[in-house]
Symmetry: C2
Subunit: 627 residues, 2 copies
Amino acid sequence: MFKKIRRILVGKPLKNEALQDQKMGVLWGLPILSSDAISSVAYAGQEVLMVLIPAVGILAFRQLSYISIAIICLLMILMLSYRQVIDSYPNGGGAYVVAKENLGVLAGVTAGAALSVDYVMTVAVSISSGVEQFTTAFKVFKPYSVVIAVTMVILLMIGNLRGIRESSRMFGIPAYAFIIGMVVMIVAGFAKVSGGYVPPPAQNMPDVVKPLTLMLVLTAFSNGCAALTGVEAVSNAVPNFKSPSTKYAKRVLFLLSMVILVLFGGSSIIANIYHVNPSNGNAMLIMIAGEIFHNTKFDFMFYYITATTFIILVFAANTAYSGFPMLISIMAKEGYAPKQLSMRGDRLSYDNGIILLSVLASILMIVFKADVSKLIGLYAIGVFISFTLSQTGMFIKWRNNKGKGWMHRAIINGTGAVVSGIVVVIIAITKFKEGAWLVVILIPILILLIFKVKKHYEAVMRQLRLKPEEIANFDINKAVYRNRVIVPIESVNRSSLRALRYAKTISDNITAFSVVIDEADAKKIKEKYNSLNMDDIPLVVKYSPFRKVVEPMLKFIESAEYDYQNGDMITVILPQFAVKKWWHKFLHNNTRYSVEKELLKHKHIVVSVMPLQLRDDDFVLNNHKYD
Amino acid sequence: MFKKIRRILVGKPLKNEALQDQKMGVLWGLPILSSDAISSVAYAGQEVLMVLIPAVGILAFRQLSYISIAIICLLMILMLSYRQVIDSYPNGGGAYVVAKENLGVLAGVTAGAALSVDYVMTVAVSISSGVEQFTTAFKVFKPYSVVIAVTMVILLMIGNLRGIRESSRMFGIPAYAFIIGMVVMIVAGFAKVSGGYVPPPAQNMPDVVKPLTLMLVLTAFSNGCAALTGVEAVSNAVPNFKSPSTKYAKRVLFLLSMVILVLFGGSSIIANIYHVNPSNGNAMLIMIAGEIFHNTKFDFMFYYITATTFIILVFAANTAYSGFPMLISIMAKEGYAPKQLSMRGDRLSYDNGIILLSVLASILMIVFKADVSKLIGLYAIGVFISFTLSQTGMFIKWRNNKGKGWMHRAIINGTGAVVSGIVVVIIAITKFKEGAWLVVILIPILILLIFKVKKHYEAVMRQLRLKPEEIANFDINKAVYRNRVIVPIESVNRSSLRALRYAKTISDNITAFSVVIDEADAKKIKEKYNSLNMDDIPLVVKYSPFRKVVEPMLKFIESAEYDYQNGDMITVILPQFAVKKWWHKFLHNNTRYSVEKELLKHKHIVVSVMPLQLRDDDFVLNNHKYD
């Protein structure tokens, strides 16, 4: 039944051949890769205001303009830096790869850990912001924010388990719809005030205005940096572009930067004109849209802005659903994460990674009540750590290779590295109390865990590796074990007979083994067994008041009676009832699992599981000679 | 690590021999078996008032006296009935046994289902009431009622997984302490008013008094019937008494009835004098204790009453922890419940039953917010259904056997049956809306499930059973399979070599099988394998883009290349990495489980799991000939 539900939700398994990415040009590449970056417009400016308004009141709007300019400068530096990453890594230059290749394993793993944290935050922040946009327009849903947010994550999870990657062009349209909507809103905003409209005075501004400290400005700036998360997406995705891929990628990166410039800059100016106060969990963009379009004949634009902003934020979260599982699958393949994270599921998606991401993001949203202002403290720091490592790696690369024009290139990436590094320090200091401490602690722990995992896999590898002389001298005919079989028998029935027959085919040294609770029980099974006439397979009966099997069996194996010789292999045959209905599982095989688990702790015991198919009806088993 | 936590919480495994119940006399038998019954005094009277006060106000207290008298009469009838059960079933006459033996399987199963529901309710009501007593005395804890209640259930669960049964005499002392405290309170209550004390007028009584309808009285009576749950405990426990056990059991039953009479009757009268109003989730007993002892030099008695009432209620819940797992283990042994419920855990307790009971009771307490008034609607109906079935069974027994004085005995049990049956109908009607509907629906569903389980086990049994001629004609030497072995190989390493060596010991028809992602991969494994010089074990290499093993293997088995003959048994050897640290489990064996699960769906495939012990350090494996 669970399987059926899974089928309905997740779809039929796909053939391996289905994994064929569609290559992108500029037209589709821009919207597909941009949703994470451009959607930040929906919360970055607003969270700058949220820091400033309580302190400096109405002056916050002017400060927002200055901070926006700083962030746009930062964007330009990053764009130039990442153009060079695209050129150098046409196979995809994620921070993990770039840092590992140029700075060594520790830096690579640090970038991997930082990025992993960032992907989780991308889901949590984008979905929470999406829900905030929606509930600002439809206030009646405000109390259900957390529920809606978690539901969205579950839907994303199901979608990604189904492998929505296939139809990734679908993701292009909403990005264009959002960009167009935003541009229209910005233009309409200017037009409306030019037409003589006077926006109402700012609401709920604090009466007492505190002095504007450097700390305050930097805190606001830290929040604004969330606008730049996602710029690295293009450089990771170079191989997904049509040929010449680096050219297309660079063009998309440039356009993406221009889009962010226009939307972030434009919305900051508009916010300055309409000075709406996004407190009490209201979304700034939606409030501005309300100011501009409500009570006009363009009221529908208000809903258009709400819908496209919501959708683009959900899509932004979705980018983490391809990035995170892919990143940890690469790490898992290299032994830096548990192997099962590197395996694709039925639908060719990395199921375990997708589920892990959804669980972590949901926990964050529940703990922080899907409140963007609270979550933003944990965001951006991970991204900027990976920016710094990636750019530093590039700088080292130029310095070592010293190709044509290396100096020029090194300066660009070096500037990128220094600026990103400064941002990391600023965020870590200003947002430490607001949650950055969590990330600051979490990343070293993750790094430690990653190395522990790697160390374990390496130890295993060493133990499994064969020396050349071992391979050369190997002679299987001289290396066989002495195999002895034990068949645990609950009663003499069709299942035990089948196990005995199988035992006979794999060994000549077989013992049937039974536990009984009392004398009568013992007598009964002995009599029935003896009537089978199996002189060469002795039946050993041991007392065990609660029919526990493992302990008496191990005791028997160790006893002089069994005469275990060092090096003997003992095969224990356990029947497994294969049942037709899902709930029948609860009725069978419970002993099998626990017995198997206990026995497998002993390295000389092989557990052979023999399936036996059961019916639920009265149909008599075919009395086939070999059933 | 989980194992360690379990060890600390649950204790070391016990040897089977440790299960030796201490036999009881009257002195210990009374308190040990009475906690469920006598603790009802803490909520039964109060819940009668809770029905009456909103309707008839102060008149409720007089009605309580009348209802108490009716309930005490009911108690006497049940006591006389159960004395006869004790005489007839010296090995323990639970309703399930008595009904099944005399009325047939359906009645037995119905009694079993009703009792199961009742045991869950006993835990939920007793613990909720215990917490109510406590929070009435210490109001600051009121908001945490549900948390405290669930914590208590978890503690009971852990205690019972540890097997607290061993020290069951411990349970005797609080029962006596409670009885003594209650008697002192009743006497002190009379003494105080005799000494001229005038209790304050009743608080929060309704202004408008409605007429007292029959429905109202019967609803109140239904709540009062909760006082009688637990009387059957003595007749279930006859074998636990010293010899002559039936004599001691009957004496204890008599004393128990007298104790209930005194405590329930006494507390009703005292409530009538002090007329406290137990609304807003306050406990009547504790309010009375407050009235009597607060602001006197006997103030400590208030805390004594609170503590002993709380403890006795927790102990009452604990009786369900021995009753429920025992009942379902008996049913499971007879095939009426999943087999794993019949198995004792490490500490000789029925772990699965204990956990199931805890989970169900916790769910109920969470759903009903640990509110006794809400839970009481579901209570008592289950008990009275089992009373009815048990007494009807006894009546039929006398009518059929017709021994000496059978008429007399039949009349007693017949009266018990009729009266209990009437109570069932009354509760079902009056409390239907308040939750009895849930029980009324649940019990038939449980009965259906029980029969489904039984039917399945019977079908399995039929399929496993051997005909006498099959046993007589069985010749194992003619029944062996042709065994062929497939060894999946990920790479040529120590683990695969070990699997191949084992394969060689059990068969001469072996195929090594490997999946690769590309040509280079294929070439690599082929070269390395060929250097092993195993001419008689061919290596089959198949392409599988994501290294999925099962599908290509099954395809290979079905192919002409493999030449599978009907009746062949195929053994697939899978390595299982035995790791030293708990978290290493997450790093290994994930494929093993899924591959095993898929393969075992095929009845001709045996899966042999070969353990391989891994270390986490650099220690090189002993190069033992047979490691």
